[in-house]
Symmetry: C2
């Protein structure tokens, strides 16, 4: 048990205090909860009770997560069967849509202008969210050492800002693929708005479908998408990247990681990212040589994701009334818990964000040093 | 079989040509060789025949290595039993001495002024060797984000330049350990010459012996030493680092790696680095979370080691006459083959050099970006 002091207040007015010091937060149980279910699945039960308003937190969600992280509740006894369960292509599309087709109107309430829904890159903690997202996109494109005339593929291209920027500022031919119809629609609009038809394009397509066509690219970006692939598909994903990436070409994989192979939080699995799995860094690194990839560079941006999530959580609260009208109070509480608990997990080091740069075989023309990223 | 064209000339004057194009080199067999031994152990047999002058190369050693790399002779059927064989502490000391106690006089013939015997860091391919070695030392110390007053441990401290530099320019208390008596003697001389007694010290000690004392350091550097540890000792090594590194402290592991787990070349094993094993990057990365380490940064300096070895090989040839007088022609040819074939192996991507930065648990005060390395 972690020593973080806290209080619990029950529906009948009674309360209990844990730890010696001033309580950091109070868990309020407004009604009786099914104890056996809680013991069997504490994380899922807590998440659902919070969503339903059966449990409230007086204090910071981050502190509750810190307590749970220390107690081991977030690790260990989860549902590994989910990891082994194969899911079909159609199911994957449904999973992606579950999350992203909540609606562009919802995401635009609290994401920045670029609609970047992945870890930003802060040169300073004072950078604005939009500035940091633009910096992230440039940082990814610089790591890929794009040259005019090259071809770039963005697997899981989101709302399309990366391919727009690459086509416009780096002179490459950029293609994005996504499984989200809402993202696809928005990306097409943006390409037209910027007059980039012919330089940038997007398709509603799975990575395996594209690999089957035999197209090849000089560079590949994979930003905040690998978390949706599912552990059982990692080899197929790497195989597709190997097929899609020219010999000597480079790929940048930007993904959340965990230190060890732990199944996804069952509450996150059920409500936020069905079918998702956060890889351990070591299982990603272990796969690379099996596909002839050479590791060039890894950077840990853990603290950047904590900051990004702080920004989102604040903006999310600012627009909570609108979200409540679009959906309901339960939805509002669900996303609050997701954003704030994720920020805490990065801060505690339970989650990391790694950018992994690798080449297909050896690459002769990679920059000799990383100076070019910081000029 | 790789398509690299080459010629073979035999002791009886006959010859054979392989490949369609102009031969890149000629292997000259001056006398009959035991075919069965060559088939069983081609790499070891070739290395010994070259040392003995039974085989000569008209052309570049690098091209012979490229041919062998493509043919698979350098991979696959090696002697994995060596990997499993436990070796005693005493044996390890003998192994280290086998290589490093060849004599300071020998190494100073062709190493740079700092006597740095590991991959240098070239800001430009035109940098001199000494400049690049000084840059490497600063690069390692910068990655460790040293602050005045901190303690630094250098495991495998070589001839001591890194601890001298750290004590003098970064204001830390630096300690080095080595198993080589020649290195130990030279390092002590240098500390005295620079008047750094009290700020820098060196001990003739194994890492496990130091860990057993219970000392702790803020930062740890491990530069070109892990290659000697031996695969069976990797967990014990990491355990020692865990013991020696304060919570939140950082360590920088600078090591040659291979893509996959391949036993060391049997010729290298027998003549150059007895007991050594080149780790795969993935087996190092896989160990980290088992000891509570978080991965912060990895950089691949493969092309830098090819350049470093080119410099050494040229300087080595310039002083070959002196080496011949110290030892004999067989020794001269042995080291020539080692230096030139290693350069080729890095160039071909059979070997890599990775700098791996990690922290013991999470570290709160790590730099947010890598900008500070490039200012």
């Amino acid at each position: 048990m972690n020593s973080l002091p806290f209080q619990v207040r029950y529906w009948d007015g009674s309360s209990a205090t844990y730890g010696q010091e001033e309580p950091r937060f109070t868990l309020v149980f407004k009604e009786k909860v099914p104890l056996l279910k809680w013991l069997r699945s504490p994380v899922l039960s807590f998440g659902e009770a919070y969503m339903d308003g059966v449990v409230d937190i007086e204090g910071q969600i981050a502190d509750v997560i810190e307590l749970a992280s220390g107690s081991g509740a977030l690790h260990g006894k989860r549902t590994p069967s989910l990891l082994r369960k194969g899911i079909s292509l159609r199911k994957e599309k449904e999973n992606v849509q579950h999350h992203y087709d909540v609606g562009n109107d919802f995401y635009s309430l609290w994401l920045d202008e670029t609609m970047s829904y992945s870890c930003a890159y802060f040169r300073s903690p004072e950078d604005s969210l939009e500035q940091a997202q633009l910096q992230k996109i440039d940082y990814v494109l610089k790591k890929l050492q794009l040259r005019p005339g090259e071809t770039l593929l963005d697997i899981g291209s989101g709302w399309g800002w990366l391919i727009l920027r690459a086509a416009k500022e780096y002179g490459v031919k950029a293609k994005g693929i996504t499984l989200s119809e809402e993202q696809y629609r928005k990306s097409r609009e943006r390409i037209a708005e910027h007059g980039l038809q012919g330089q940038a394009e997007v398709e509603l397509l799975d990575y395996r479908e594209l690999a089957a066509r035999g197209d090849e690219f000089d560079k590949i970006a994979i930003v905040g998408m690998f978390e949706h692939v599912g552990r059982q598909h990692f080899p197929a994903f790497m195989k597709a990247v190997q097929t899609l990436l020219k010999g000597g070409g480079m790929a940048l994989l930007h993904t959340i990681t965990q230190a060890k192979e732990v199944p996804t939080d069952p509450w996150i699995q059920k409500y936020i990212f069905p079918g998702g799995y956060i890889p351990s860094l070591r299982e990603v690194v272990a796969l690379l040589p099996d596909f002839g990839f050479h590791l060039l560079d890894i950077e840990n941006l853990r603290s950047h994701y904590a900051l990004t999530l702080d920004h989102w959580a604040i903006r999310y609260e600012d627009s909570a009334e609108k979200t409540r009208k679009m959906f309901d109070e339960r939805f509002v509480r669900m996303w609050r818990l997701y954003l704030q608990s994720s920020a805490a997990a990065f801060r505690l080091g339970d989650l990391h964000l790694h950018q992994i740069l690798f080449s297909n075989g050896i690459t002769e023309d990679a920059a000799m040093t990383r100076d070019h990223l910081y000029r």
